[in-house]
């Protein structure tokens, strides 16, 4: 009996392969092919003298597409790279893969519904989109949000800036190989998203900031949550410093990579952290304050070299400044209304509808045809985590915008890529794109 058992044991390579059992061709790699692959690998070892000074002939240049499905292009960004060996000579960003016509959609939505639409543009900074649109509507309608709503707006947008920058750091780390940074960044962003969920009911696309104020008051216990965030995030930043700041590989991959000067930034309409990393002191929160930001104390962190490292540093410093603003906002949170006391704009509370015919009419009017905004055009810009986020709004006196245009910071910042990547290595494109932090929902709208 024991003999029968040993016969059943299968030993690899002893039986003959039955090539006829499948119709998909040979399933094993031929021996000579394996050998040639190995030779290719040996020949691909890069030596130090790869930088070619003189211009190569046209036939030595190769055009290669990076994206739109490349995981390191942060969405559906496609780059056409003109390569000379390993060096990028020219590049061209090609966009539009995520275009959903949100500006056209906005013309069919009432001013009340507008935030639902714009919050889906820059999906990492939804509060900024909502705030920008709401400020534009309020400017045209000549209303101002009550003090409590303004402080809530500052609180939420600055928390959003922290969560957005955490994603930027996380993906930047992951793209260069610091996978732990990715896990840490997403973990700590979760703290903030939980608070958002508690306040607005949603983790993203909140539709919370609306023309006239905010949709709901802060939840009970919000102060403890905010204090916890303000306590934990700075500690976690120290962890990030251990991971990145003191990491020779990180420094090697980021310092002097993807350089852009301040003049080039201005010429190419680059705003936000990339502009400040190049040493230009320009923050719309300081230059054209909105929502009472002129009363808060904070600094504008600046870089010098305009490389990937400086952009990373600027984001870390901005997180620290934002934590400071959040603390100030929590301290000064005034009591009072969180929506403007205007029956034509603010929907009545649910209980009033049962008691008052007038409230029912207002409710019906607001949700069917929306409130009317006087004829006019305006442009409002705020500082989103990615730069100047603007809303150009035109009203012809109806309940819907005649035209709504969003000045998307990622869209303009992408113009920096060909400059940053010129004459750099293919491997550095990953670090450069990540440092620019483009959100394709914002680019394509």
């Amino acid at each position: 009996m024991a003999d029968q058992r040993t016969e059943e044991i299968w030993v690899a390579g002893t039986e003959e392969w039955d090539g006829a059992s499948t119709d998909e061709g040979a399933q094993t790699m031929r021996e000579e092919e394996t050998a040639s692959r190995l030779a290719e690998q040996i020949g691909a070892v890069v030596s130090d003298d790869y930088v070619i000074e003189d211009e190569a002939a046209d036939d030595e240049r190769m055009i290669i597409n990076m994206g739109p499905q490349h995981p390191s292009t942060h969405g559906v960004l496609r780059l056409q790279l003109e390569l000379e060996g390993e060096i990028i000579r020219r590049s061209k960003p090609i966009i539009g893969y995520l275009h959903t016509g949100m500006e056209k959609t906005a013309e069919t939505l009432t001013f009340m519904q507008g935030p639902t639409n714009v919050t889906r543009m820059d999906y990492l900074a939804p509060f900024h989109n909502e705030l920008c649109f709401s400020l534009a509507v309020e400017k045209l309608a000549g209303i101002e949000a009550p003090p409590r709503a303004q402080v809530i707006r500052v609180l939420m947008t600055e928390l959003n800036r922290i969560s957005s920058h955490l994603i930027a750091l996380a993906t930047n780390g992951m793209d260069i190989g610091a996978i732990s940074m990715m896990l840490y960044g997403f973990r700590d962003r979760e703290l903030i998203l939980s608070f958002f969920e508690k306040t607005t009911g949603l983790r993203m696309n909140h539709n919370y900031i609306r023309p006239g104020g905010v949709a709901a008051d802060l939840p009970p216990g919000w102060r403890q949550d905010v204090e916890e965030i303000c306590r934990v995030i700075p500690q976690r930043l120290d962890d990030y410093d251990d991971l990145l700041q003191n990491n020779p590989i990180w420094l090697e991959r980021t310092k002097g990579v993807g350089v852009i000067t301040g003049e080039e930034c201005l010429a190419y309409s680059i705003t936000g952290p990339p502009l400040r990393a190049s040493g230009v002191n320009w923050d719309l929160r300081k230059a054209f304050p909105y929502s009472g930001l002129e009363d808060y104390e904070f600094e504008v962190p600046l870089g010098q070299n305009g490389d990937v490292y400086d952009r990373y540093r600027v984001k870390v410093e901005e997180i620290i400044q934002s934590v400071g603003i959040v603390r100030q906002a929590a301290e000064r949170m005034p009591k009072g209304d969180y929506r403007v006391d205007d029956r034509k704009i603010t929907p009545p509370p649910r209980k009033r509808i049962d008691e008052s015919m007038e409230a029912l009419i207002h409710h019906f009017k607001i949700f069917t045809e929306g409130f009317r905004v006087p004829t006019g055009e305006t442009y409002v810009a705020i500082e989103s985590p990615r730069g100047e986020l603007g809303c150009y709004l035109v009203s012809n006196g109806a309940g819907k915008p005649w035209r709504m245009h969003t000045r998307a910071p990622s869209f303009y910042n992408l113009q920096a890529l060909p400059i940053m990547m010129a004459d750099s290595l293919v491997a550095d494109t990953i670090a450069t794109i990540a440092s620019l932090d483009p959100v394709m929902g914002d680019v394509d709208r």
């Binding site: 705003t271 810009a381 603007g390």
Partner: protein
């Protein structure tokens, strides 16, 4: 040169606060003067289609920012016709490149002198200009590049 002196030599320009209405022919000269006056950045270019609201129907909007003077300027240019032509400001502010392509893509306004005036958000072979008011929402059949290959 100060911001106030900017409007000398442009008698047709009508300024109201930080909004300036400008004749389309003055655009290039005005843009050069604005850059000289310290408006380093052209942060945004967009357009509005005032079909059946105003004549001419298209208005192109430029948003300028001066960091040194900490001020904004918005240029409004009413451009004639259904296929309007305008001078590109990309030689003055290269950052307007993407934005002008977007306006061309969405409204069909041609910017002469633009180095690469192609569609940017819509597919290359798209017909029509989506943000025009006579381009319907929803009722348009979905266009796909490879649709004719599929049987």
């Amino acid at each position: 040169m100060t911001a106030a002196a900017l409007f000398e030599g442009f008698p047709e320009a009508v300024a109201e606060g930080d909004v300036v209405r400008l004749a389309p022919n003055d655009l290039e000269a005005f843009a050069r003067a604005a850059l000289q006056a310290g408006y380093e950045m052209c942060v945004d270019v967009t357009a509005v289609d005032y079909l059946e609201e105003r004549e001419p129907r298209f208005e192109v909007v430029y948003n300028l920012v001066s960091i040194q003077h900490r001020s904004r300027l918005r240029l409004l240019l009413a451009v004639e016709g259904d296929e309007p032509h305008l001078t590109s400001v990309t030689p003055i502010w290269p950052g307007a490149g993407f934005a002008e392509r977007e306006v061309y893509d969405m409204f069909g306004i041609v910017f002469e002198g633009h180095p690469d005036l192609t569609r940017i958000l819509m597919p290359d072979d798209w017909e029509g200009y989506p943000l025009r008011k006579d381009f319907a929402v929803g009722s348009v059949p979905v266009q796909f590049k490879a649709a004719h290959l599929v049987t």
